[in-house]
């Protein structure tokens, strides 16, 4: 068996198994596995097979269109793209500092997005595996099955997501693909009636979010060996943290830690991202492979998202989520927790943090009005970085003197996680598939570990749709023997 499993030494005679489409993730992708006659694994790759090219067709368009246009990358976290683009274009229009009202309204929109996306992922996409088992009966391993067997859990998941979508609707104008954020600020405040509507439910939302954290903790405690080791491997971590070191998902500075939790760099301004991150292209995937420039492509790959953020910040600035973070950190001990399934735990802590933050913002009178837009001296480029539900999201634009976009570079959350997802898939393949007759339940183990990262392959390739996965089995000569595919 090849050590790193990325590229087999002699692929010609190997059988090829493909999981295509990957299911219950966002976007289209597939996993291919090359095995020999004894089912020993020689190569495992997570391929992203879509391409949309937003970076190219945004060029030549007027800059004020960008925050609305680029959010079409995704139907799950469009607010993240909407706000990252707006932050980049704030710089272009000279709005170095937004009004307090605009900042609070954008934060409200963003934390609504975090809440709805995390609820969607955990309850709709991941919970069937966690509640029923990875190789449980496939026909009930879905949200309908959860609704049947755990109706209260499913109901709360649906209502949590709905609440987050309502926050987005009220701040952006629509639940999906709104227009609330514009370069230099926002185009609307929240009315007192809208605020009161959200306040009616927010305390219940916080309580349910706490229950969701408790549910994940219970799963960890019931199966600690599985949850601590499934697909686990050590990696560096990267995220924004607030300028005070606390968790801040809307704005801050970049901080990275090594596999042992020691800080690699801290306080890096987002507009310096090109100094610390470089992207590598591999011929078998449309998704690039970013890495920390100082460490090189082989050693510089890292993970982003909830598992990184919860362990990267000094504290969480809302009380209930901070209690949960401390318990999480106590659980992991002196070393960072690298287990992919711990993403779910961290994700639910963040959902609780988002609910608490929304509550605080709803009590802030700044969201009800005041100056909403500022402008200043025009510049020719802007960089916006935000912590999207799935991780660090970077938007970078160049704009000419006639207001048209000349350059666009997007590094989305899932792209940062490309290498670590491949590593996780290989780890699971080594542990569960190597030398065994492959069946649907085993293949779902591969999907379970991919889902833990909550990848959005649509965003990552600037692509559209749900994520398909195919597994193909081929002879040593490359002839197809068997194939399993999910629509």
């Amino acid at each position: 068996m090849s050590q790193n499993l990325e590229t087999a030494a002699n692929p010609g005679p190997l059988r090829r198994i493909a999981i295509d489409p990957l299911s219950r993730v966002e976007g289209h992708g597939k996993v291919t596995i090359l095995v020999d006659e004894a089912n020993r694994i020689h190569q495992v790759r997570l391929h992203i097979v879509e391409f949309r090219g937003f970076e190219r067709f945004i060029v030549g368009r007027p800059y004020w269109e960008v925050p609305v246009m680029v959010q079409r990358l995704c139907g799950i976290c469009p607010v993240s793209h909407h706000l990252a683009a707006s932050k980049a274009l704030d710089v272009v229009v000279g709005a170095r500092r937004l009004t307090r009202s605009a900042q609070m309204l954008r934060r409200l929109m963003h934390y609504g997005q975090i809440l709805q996306s995390h609820a969607l992922h955990f309850f709709y996409l991941a919970s069937p595996d966690l509640l029923f088992g990875f190789d449980s009966e496939v026909s009930r391993r879905n949200i309908v099955g959860v609704a049947t067997a755990h109706s209260d859990t499913a109901r709360r998941g649906i209502l949590l997501r709905k609440f987050g979508q309502e926050v987005i609707r009220i701040t952006a104008g629509k639940r999906v693909h709104g227009t609330g954020s514009i370069p230099g600020g926002v185009n609307k405040a929240v009315t007192a009636a809208e605020r009161d509507l959200l306040l009616q439910n927010i305390y219940e939302i916080i309580a349910w979010s706490r229950d969701a954290v408790a549910l994940v903790k219970r799963l960890h405690n019931q199966h600690p060996a599985l949850y601590n080791s499934f697909g686990a491997f050590r990696s560096k971590i990267l995220s924004l943290v607030g300028r005070d070191g606390n968790m801040d998902l809307y704005d801050g500075v970049l901080r990275a830690r090594d596999e042992n939790g020691a800080i690699l760099f801290d306080g890096v301004e987002p507009d310096q991202y090109l100094d610390i991150i470089e992207e590598q292209v591999k011929p078998w995937s449309y998704m690039k492979f970013p890495y920390l420039r100082a460490l090189g492509a082989d050693k510089g790959w890292y993970r982003v998202g909830p598992l990184s953020r919860v362990q990267n910040c000094d504290s969480i600035p809302t009380p209930l989520a901070e209690i949960e973070r401390r318990e999480f950190m106590d659980y992991s001990g002196a070393m960072p927790l690298h287990a992919p399934l711990a993403y779910h735990w961290a994700r639910m802590i963040e959902m609780l943090h988002a609910a608490e933050t929304i509550k605080d913002l709803l009590h802030d009178p700044a969201i009800l009005g005041g100056d909403l837009v500022v402008q200043g001296a025009r510049t020719s480029s802007g960089i916006g970085v935000i912590e999207a539900p799935r991780g660090t999201l970077i938007h970078h634009y160049g704009v000419d003197e006639n207001d048209l976009v000349t350059m666009c570079n997007l590094i989305v959350s899932t792209t940062h996680n490309n290498q670590v997802m491949n590593e996780a898939v290989r780890e699971v393949a080594r542990r569960y598939l190597d030398g065994r007759e492959i069946n649907e339940g085993l293949l779902n183990h591969i999907e379970v570990v991919i889902r833990a990262f909550d990848p959005c392959l649509s965003c990552a390739t600037h692509a559209l749709g749900k994520m398909p996965l195919v597994v193909e089995l081929r002879t040593l000569e490359g002839d197809l023997i068997d194939s399993r595919a999910r629509d």
Partner: protein
């Protein structure tokens, strides 16, 4: 107002001498879908969206003079089907991507499509490759969205006395051009105060740096559908 009348879908419409069917209908508070008509400009009859059946014949209501006793049919399934086909052709002939267009909610083409219950483009898209002219400091020309209504041509020529815009070519090759040596708006004497800057019914002539400044729910056709809000001019932005 004279005592002259014609019938519009069974209603009696009074008209003054020299009025067209569309002018008289609008004065009487009746909506006939239209795109290339503006009450302050000379009718052009180019878009055909305002077509009605007049005594059995299809006519553009914006250019057909009202006559005593004529029978006009507008709100019929047959006429609306033809109007919808015209609007669908306008959509596929250009690049009209409402989801990312700043005129969404304020666009007469989009609002008229909703009015006519257009649910798909029906025809194959042309996907033309048209450049954006951003050379003017205050305005942007997006030719992808031009429907060749000629409102800007007439406004610039007849009101502004400038003739900044023109239609060149013939048939399917017809295109909007700018009357300057370079062909660019920035090299013309177009100004933000021009009537031509205010009459574009779609997102082809855009005031720069204003996009999406009106929130969803407060845009022209969010407040009221075009049938209720359109009083003849597309200037309500």
């Amino acid at each position: 107002m004279s005592d002259s009348c014609f019938s519009l879908d069974g209603a009696s419409i009074a008209f003054a001498a020299g009025q067209t069917i569309l002018q008289a209908a609008m004065d009487a508070g009746h909506y006939i879908p239209h795109l290339c008509f503006h009450p302050e400009l000379k009718p052009h009859g180019s878009c055909k969206v305002c077509s009605v059946r007049v005594d059995g014949n299809m006519m553009a209501s914006c250019t057909t003079p009202a006559r005593q006793g004529m029978k006009v049919e507008s709100a019929t399934t047959e006429v609306d089907d033809q109007r919808r086909a015209v609007v669908q052709m306008l959509f596929v002939e250009g690049n009209h991507f409402c989801p990312s267009c700043e005129q969404s909610g304020r666009c007469k083409l989009q609002a008229t499509a909703y009015e006519l219950q257009m649910t798909s483009p029906h025809f194959d898209h042309f996907f033309p490759d048209r450049a954006v002219d951003a050379s003017h400091p205050d305005f942007l020309l997006d030719f992808n969205r031009c429907i060749l209504c000629s409102l800007c041509v007439r406004a610039s020529r007849d009101v502004d006395q400038k003739a900044v815009f023109g239609l060149a070519g013939r048939g399917i090759g017809t295109r909007l051009i700018v009357n300057s040596e370079s062909g660019r708006l920035g090299d013309s004497d177009f100004a933000a105060t021009d009537k031509a800057a205010q009459v574009c019914p779609v997102g082809a002539i855009l005031r720069k740096r204003q996009g999406f400044n009106v929130p969803i729910g407060q845009r022209t056709y969010d407040v009221a559908p075009i049938r209720e809000s359109d009083r003849g001019g597309p200037e309500k932005r």
